[in-house]
Amino acid sequence: MRNVLVGPVSVVGRASMGLMATLGGATMLLGRILRALLPPRFDRDEAWRQLYAVGVKSSAIVMVTALFVGAIMVIQTAFYVQRTGATSLLGFGVGFTVFAEIGPILIGLMFSGRVGANNTAELGTMVVTEQVDALRALAIDPIGYLVVPRFIAMIVMMLMLMALGDVFAIIGAALTADTLVGVDPSVLIGDILDSHLLDEYLLGLGKAFCFGVSISVLSCWYGLGVRGGATGVGRAVNNSVVANAAAIFFIDFVMGWIFPVGL
């Protein structure tokens, strides 16, 4: 009986303690990253390498995800449009959800899973094999050499992939509209373009920028904090993707609240 009562309380308690520690640590890491950027003190070559690596890792999965997001949103919107007879709203509904809401969330989650998790695993492995200590011993600052290039690469790539992902989502939507819903793709695309969705598109990019910041900072923070061998690396990756998912929904909420878009 006691367990039933104490259980949830202690779960919430422990979770909020963990949240505080993560927020504090991640904020300090962000501070150190910004200090290394002004004036720029980081490894340019490494930044280019990371940009390339992040792009190679994530473009395919983000594009394919975007295709399906567009497809799913067409199916769901068509369901409502058909019931209410408001066929003219199909383009608006699809464009709005894809650009401003579901598109950023799903693309952000995929990016976090692919790039963020991988980053935590990489840095975590470098920590447990003492490579990070070796860098320090060579008087190379791990922030400038490891973290800042990843920070830049992830933000830039997240923005580019969101911009491109929206295009792929529209393609997925058009293909599905044609095959499943019976709406001509050119009509749907015309509808979307006529719906004045520039604000939504920009909101999506703004979210992408914030996701890039949070994914890079959190995944580096968890990676550099790994303790204890293979098990430790696995656990850090697990924590990192969970924290990133929570951050994505939080950012999505705050941005949507601050910048209301729509008709």
Binding site: F68, I72, I75, E101, A121, G262
Partner: protein, 264 residues
């Protein structure tokens, strides 16, 4: 010219081969799980323990993510409605219906893929690199049957339960926001009038298939881990990506079939 062509083929072919062999690996784990289920060789005590772990690990996480999703969705929809037709009576029922049909199962599935899928891969992956999986084999305990089958059953049940919980949380969050910001009374907002039995079934079928496939996809990633801590990290990454993608793909397939065949 020839060399360039060959390099081109390699660049396109290598990822395709990788995806193909990955898909085959997942299919083979799936087949083994189904065989084990048909034979009824299930460790029920472990199923109960895994269900508890899945619920315990993800309840707080789902509360946070679905809470924010409920808040922002209602906020955005209500802002639109306020500007064109200030009539909020349909908002709550439609919101709850859309949650059942689409967002509660899919977002819950994605969260479980992230939270539980990566956990399964990390756990099984570190068992592989520390040779514990080999030791299981030597004791004639089949790793798929021993490790993945209980997690599959547990996650199938738990994702369905958590989906129902997700609808509940998102509705509460949306209701509070609608009341405080747009003055929509909770009694107007909370109504199941638009939710048909078909919507409930569609949502639960989605939850069931996400729950079933996540441990299979993630467990396969864990079992194919190799080479120390880097291998475990890599397997965990792959599990997150592959199981999240599986959720999106299944969502598309089930929604598509639901829409075209059953007019859902």
């Amino acid at each position: 010219m020839n060399a360039a062509l060959e390099r081109g083929f390699r660049a396109v072919g290598a990822p395709l081969v990788a995806v193909g062999s990955h898909a085959f690996g997942i299919y083979s784990v799936f087949a083994q799980v189904v065989m084990a289920l048909l034979k009824g060789a299930v460790r029920w005590r472990e199923v109960v323990r895994q269900s508890y772990l899945i619920g315990n690990r993800s309840l707080f996480f789902i509360t946070v993510t679905l809470g924010f999703l409920g808040l922002i969705s209602v906020y955005q929809v209500a802002s639109q409605i306020q500007r064109i037709l200030p009539d909020f009576t349909m908002m709550g029922p439609a919101f709850i219906q859309l949650m059942w049909r689409e967002f509660a199962p899919t977002i819950t599935g994605l969260m479980i893929a992230t939270r539980v899928g990566s956990g399964i891969a990390a756990e099984i992956g570190s068992m592989v690199v520390t040779e514990q999986v080999d030791a299981l084999r030597m004791c004639n305990a089949d790793p798929v049957r021993y490790l993945i089958v209980p997690r599959t059953i547990a996650s199938t049940v738990m994702v369905m339960m958590l989906t129902i919980y997700a609808v509940f949380i998102a509705t509460i969050a949306g209701m509070v926001l609608a009341d405080v910001v747009f003055n929509v009374s909770p009694s107007t907002f909370v109504s199941l009038s638009m939710v048909s039995g078909q919507d409930v079934v569609l949502g639960l079928v989605k939850a069931l298939s996400f729950g079933f496939w996540i441990p299979i996809v993630a467990g396969q990633a864990g079992l194919s881990a190799s080479g120390g801590s880097a291998g475990v990290g890599w397997a965990t990454t792959r599990a997150v990506v592959a199981s999240s993608f599986a959720v999106i793909l299944l969502d598309f397939i089930i929604s598509g079939i639901g829409y075209t065949v059953f007019d859902l």
